[in-house]
Assembly symmetry: C2
Homo-oligomer: 362 residues x 2
């Protein structure tokens, strides 16, 4: 059962941050900066009303928002507090549309937290939904695109005060143009991927994401076995428990790319799991055999605490476990896999659900 | 005396092209592609009314247009015929403004001709003015910026069909963002640098540019001594008559950069003149002594015909003469020189008017 409406208070933010980090599959930006921004915004502007999509009228305008850019930059540069209001004003002045609610485009990572700050500063409610159910690196990798919602406006706002309204011909061009502008602004911008009425969002977004992230953070906090609690909450497989023995990572074209190798300890001694990265964890392999791949979720967590380790925070020698679990069903449709399956990232392999791969590898 | 209104016919295009090439100072894009586009548009849509700025009502909306990108790309890729209409439609649908007239942002090179095609396709008159009186490589290098007209909208349209509306904080950001989008679209886009009422354009643009370019082309055609005719028409100095002995040229970040060396023949034997290039000819030097520099105009012409040789058409061994003449007075103001003087292009030298330098070097 989805709760129709609740107030997101400062005290909920730590749970939300833990949950968003888990759903971030290594990306979506550092939750620390999103947490700082959300805490400061709630202190200054008050708590945020989180509302189920069905509480909105059909013509209420929803802005799905996210930060776009390289996580390594987001890690060091806190967004300007004026960006969200500048975007809101541009939509009102130029497009003559009044935004009724903010939605997180991606619940994973900082992009699950920052919308709390943006909603607080804009004085708007937050929709209890997102457009990924996780994090993905490219602009067109959203459920709205998979559901066939045509691009209308991509609105961008940067720390300098530049605001841009793009009308790209399709999702690939939305990605290419938004990325070019984000890179020109120093590899970090605020973006609304669409400006849509609630009626258009229905059935095209993943509902309950904010509540789910808070719940994940809470079970981790309340359990004495956080990884066990996560496995149960997420219905996740543990691919390996070990330590980080190799990291290769570079920032190029607005992305972090690379790979990490985890060597097993304890019962997993002698095993090596490699994870391929483009902002997020994309594919996990053991001896060349795929254990899990996008669009299913792969998250590296600290073995002691269960805390997610983002791709930009991976360090040699970390004790880490790898969890993998099923994505939202929309990503397993033909268009979902075209958009964010292994081939969309340049891997020449057919997608197989993580639950099948895990059974086969036992 | 400015003629208030005249019809630009297909028969005027060759003169216009010759004149725009001369005013292009080597850049502004190849006149051949602009000529093809203008001829086809006039054949399909009819001749274009060229009107003095004072024939427009104060609130008539003017769109100063130009192609943005590397000339080497413009040389090979003819703009889509739909770009101008897509831009016109976006301004109408999104900004709810009806464009009353097209203006050339830069009269030099292809950007002096292509607006004829855009005006014909949009069914609009062309203002007899431009915002440079020549060609310049960067977006903020326009008289409107020098005159302090605040940026409102930069509207871009590309061959793919993407349309973008930018609200940059200032001219430098207009350049940076527009360039990033143009590069993302394959290094060539159509751009309106502003969307302004005629009242705002008055005093902030260079009037009579289209008529002037046609006149330059005509005196070249009608004279048996085209270079002599050019010197008289432009009040130009000839810096050298010689042949091209060295060219260095590369395309990077959306620009053509490099230099050309011309070795004197006849009375100029034993002299070497080097010209520094960023899309346009920026500085001409003899033995390290500056003979002319931006914002004054420097054009390389074919010694036999007087035809301008664009930076992307320079070839080893060409017989070439170099002409230089004074820019519009707006460029010699403090803000004009800050925007497009030698230091704006990274040259550590004080601007001196070409007529002073020429007298000193005799």
């Amino acid at each position: 059962m989805t709760i129709e409406q609740w107030q997101l208070q400062e005290g909920d933010l730590d749970d939300l941050a833990r949950g968003c980090a888990i759903l971030g599959t290594g990306g979506g930006g550092s939750v620390e900066t999103g947490l700082l921004a959300a805490r400061r915004a709630i202190r200054e502007c008050g708590s945020v009303s989180v509302r189920a999509l069905d509480t909105f009228a059909d013509d209420d305008i929803i802005a799905p928002l996210s930060g776009i850019g390289a996580p390594t930059v987001g890690h060091e540069m806190i967004s300007s507090e004026a960006e969200a209001v500048a975007l809101q004003r541009a939509v009102q002045d130029v497009l003559r549309l009044r935004i009724a609610a903010v939605m997180s485009s991606e619940i994973g990572g900082s992009n699950g937290l920052a919308p709390v700050a943006w909603a607080a500063r804009m004085g708007l409610p937050l929709v209890d939904a997102d457009a990924m159910g996780r994090a993905f690196p490219e602009v067109q990798m959203v459920s709205l695109y998979v559901a066939g919602v045509p691009y209308n406006y991509v609105v961008m706002s940067d720390v300098i005060g530049n605001v841009s309204i793009l009308r790209p011909t399709d999702g690939r061009w939305a990605e290419r143009q938004a990325r070019a502008l984000a890179v020109a602004s120093g590899s970090h911008s605020l973006m609304a991927d669409y400006i849509i009425p609630a009626a258009t969002a229905r059935g095209a977004v993943i509902e309950g994401s904010v509540s789910r992230a808070v719940r994940i953070g809470r079970v981790m906090r309340e359990s004495t076995d956080p990884i066990g609690a996560l496995r149960e909450e997420l219905q996740a497989r543990q691919l390996i428990e070990g330590k980080v023995v190799d990291i290769e990572r570079r920032t190029s074209g607005g992305f972090v790319r690379g790979s990490v190798v985890i060597e097993g300890v304890g019962g997993d001694r002698g095993q090596l799991v490699r994870i391929e990265i483009q902002n997020e964890n994309l594919v996990a392999l053991r001896d060349g055999v795929v254990l899990a791949s996008v669009p299913d979720l792969i998250t590296v967590v600290d073995t002691a605490t269960g805390t997610a380790i983002s791709t930009e925070s991976l360090r040699y020698g970390q004790r880490a476990s790898v969890l993998a679990w099923p994505c939202d069903p929309i990503w397993r449709t033909e268009r979902g896999l075209e958009t964010a399956g292994p081939r969309a990232f340049g891997y020449d392999l057919d997608y197989r659900p993580v639950e099948e791969l895990a059974s086969a590898s036992v």
